[in-house]
């Protein structure tokens, strides 16, 4: 008979059984309060959509202004006068969050994508080497919840 460490002894079997089941149930319950329902077995997507429009908050001549980011790209000059090109998609490879200025499917629902978008803004703003102008990134988001216009909201990530 094949021997394996994975042949649990009769004493260990109930412990393993209960520990596994308790963990799964806890994860399932916890998932219901998680925006992206992670570990929740929410198998089928909703039909919601979102459109992300990206803006940079920059300070010029002592005043803060909002500048729209066109086609996910902007250029800046550093202190030495070197020109740098920054692209949203350089860091955001995700197909849903990486698409700007057009409606895309909100996989796992709007809450999941908005939750991830906040992280994405924070990530990009932390990786702006050579951009000394941008103080914050702002996403203006239009949402369609299962075909109905749900609204508009603004997410912001300040530069650390």
């Amino acid at each position: 008979m094949p021997r394996s460490l994975l042949n649990l002894s009769p004493r260990l079997r109930p412990v393993f059984f209960c520990a596994y089941l308790a963990t799964q149930l806890a994860l399932l319950v916890r998932a219901q309060s998680s925006p992206d329902l992670v570990f929740g077995f929410q198998m089928f997507n909703a039909s919601s959509q979102l459109k992300i429009s990206l803006f940079r908050k920059v300070r010029r001549h002592g005043r803060s202004r909002l500048i729209a980011v066109r086609e996910g790209m902007w250029q800046t000059k550093d202190g030495a006068g070197m020109r740098h090109t920054h692209r949203w998609q350089d860091r955001i490879r995700d197909g849903h969050l990486g698409t700007l200025d057009q409606f895309v499917h909100a996989a796992y629902g709007l809450d999941a994508q908005l939750f991830r978008l906040q992280f994405a803004l924070r990530d990009v703003v932390q990786h702006l080497a050579g951009d000394e102008e941008t103080e914050a990134l702002i996403a203006e988001v239009d949402t369609l919840k299962n075909g109905r216009e749900a609204g508009h909201l603004r997410l912001k990530a300040e530069r650390p």
Binding site: L37, G40, Q42, G147
Partner: protein, 377 residues
């Protein structure tokens, strides 16, 4: 010993034939391999995930470096192949699934329910005696003798519970969502179907487009989907409903596979149904007349596709055939030929299982109309 203690001992001490678990191992390890292959392709085409935006569920310091990640992906692929071929199968399954779970914790963006379900089922399978049959490295003698295949299968119950939890989680999510309950979610999806078909050079008939874009149809479909999932989740625990629940599940997943992009989910769930197959082998009989060409073809099909070793094939002697080319005796001892016999065959052959209900219904209707004809004479 009290009844409860006896039940407890029986539950955790249950020992059954592990043949079908070997088949389950083949399916799950193949899916694990393809899941790992996707990560390898993503690494080679898109780069190392941690060089871009990612959301770790574990501390950033616990993430593997690029080269370690590449190495671990290789280990995962190798482990899946070992599990598939039958070399250290259980340890390999545990390695492949645990690595997959670790990768998922490294980046929340990688999380997809179907991938998570696959990794959990792979993990649980490692605790089952799935290394006693379908050992491909052993060639034709791929299974251990029966007495060595009988082994503790308590983890099979956990695997079954996990399958139920997947459906229950999915059902609960839909029930709690007003738009899902009302059919609005499906309405939005179906509404694009005519446009989608037209873009792919196939125009839907007007009547079908009208049905697909109607709110009542979407509402009905949503309720049917929720009811189906709930029925599968609970029905698989009721011996009298299990067969029907599994059939509904197979049809449900075939329809999902045809209409939505759910990665490996449909394949995974259909494979997972093998855990609900009665472990004992050759409890049914298939008798056939070897000199009858259609019966001989049927016998060949049975020997090719009886992956779960359900049937004991026997040649009918000329005197016992009574005109029928074949007979199928099911586990309850019902001996049948014709459409009912075919239904009893389809019931136990995984590849033909979707035909079981239509054939059974046809056989019943046929029998009723024959009885009516006899009565009228």
């Amino acid at each position: 010993m009290s009844g409860l203690a006896e039940g407890f001992r029986r539950f955790f001490g249950e020992e059954r034939d592990a043949w079908v678990l070997g088949l389950l191992r083949l399916a799950i390890s193949a899916l694990l391999f393809f899941n790992g292959l996707r990560l390898i392709l993503e690494l080679s085409r898109g780069g190392y995930f941690a060089d871009y935006f990612h959301i770790p569920l574990i501390p950033e310091e616990w993430l593997p470096g690029r080269s370690v990640y590449a190495l671990l992906l290789g280990v995962q692929a190798l482990a899946s192949l070992l599990a598939f071929s039958g070399v250290w199968s259980r340890e390999a399954l545990l390695t492949a699934s645990s690595l997959g779970l670790y990768f998922m914790l490294c980046d929340r963006l990688q999380y997809h329910n179907n991938r998570y379900a696959l990794l959990l089922l792979g993990f649980l399978l490692a605790f089952m005696p799935c290394d006693r049959a379908f050992l491909l490295v052993r060639g034709r003698a791929h299974a251990l003798p029966r007495e060595e295949r009988i082994a503790p299968t308590f983890a099979r119950r956990l695997f079954q519970l996990q399958v139920s939890l997947i459906y229950l989680g999915s059902t609960a999510g839909k029930l709690l969502d007003t738009d899902w309950r009302s059919g609005q979610v499906l309405f939005m999806r179906y509404a694009h179907a005519p446009e989608f078909c037209a873009q792919h050079g196939f125009a839907l008939p007007a009547w079908l487009a009208l049905i697909l874009t109607s709110a009542w149809f979407a509402s009905l479909a949503a309720k049917a989907a929720i009811a189906s999932e709930l029925f599968i989740a609970l029905g698989i625990w009721l011996p009298r409903a299990r067969r029907l629940a599994l059939w509904v599940g197979v049809i449900f997943h075939i329809s999902i596979e045809l209409t939505a992009n759910v990665e490996l989910f449909s394949w995974l769930m259909v494979a997972a149904y093998l855990a609900f197959v009665v472990p004992e082998l050759r409890e049914r009989r298939f008798e056939f007349a070897p000199d009858n060409p259609p019966a001989a073809v049927l016998a060949r099909l049975v020997s090719l596709f009886d992956w779960c070793a359900r049937f004991e094939p026997t040649e009918l002697s000329k005197t016992s055939a009574h005109g029928a080319a074949f007979y199928v005796t099911n586990r309850e001892g019902r001996r049948a030929s014709g459409a009912l016999g075919l239904a009893q065959l389809a019931e136990a052959l995984p590849l033909f299982f979707p035909l079981w209900l239509p054939l059974s219904l046809y056989a019943k209707l046929n029998a009723k109309s024959r009885a009516a004809a006899v009565n009228s004479v």
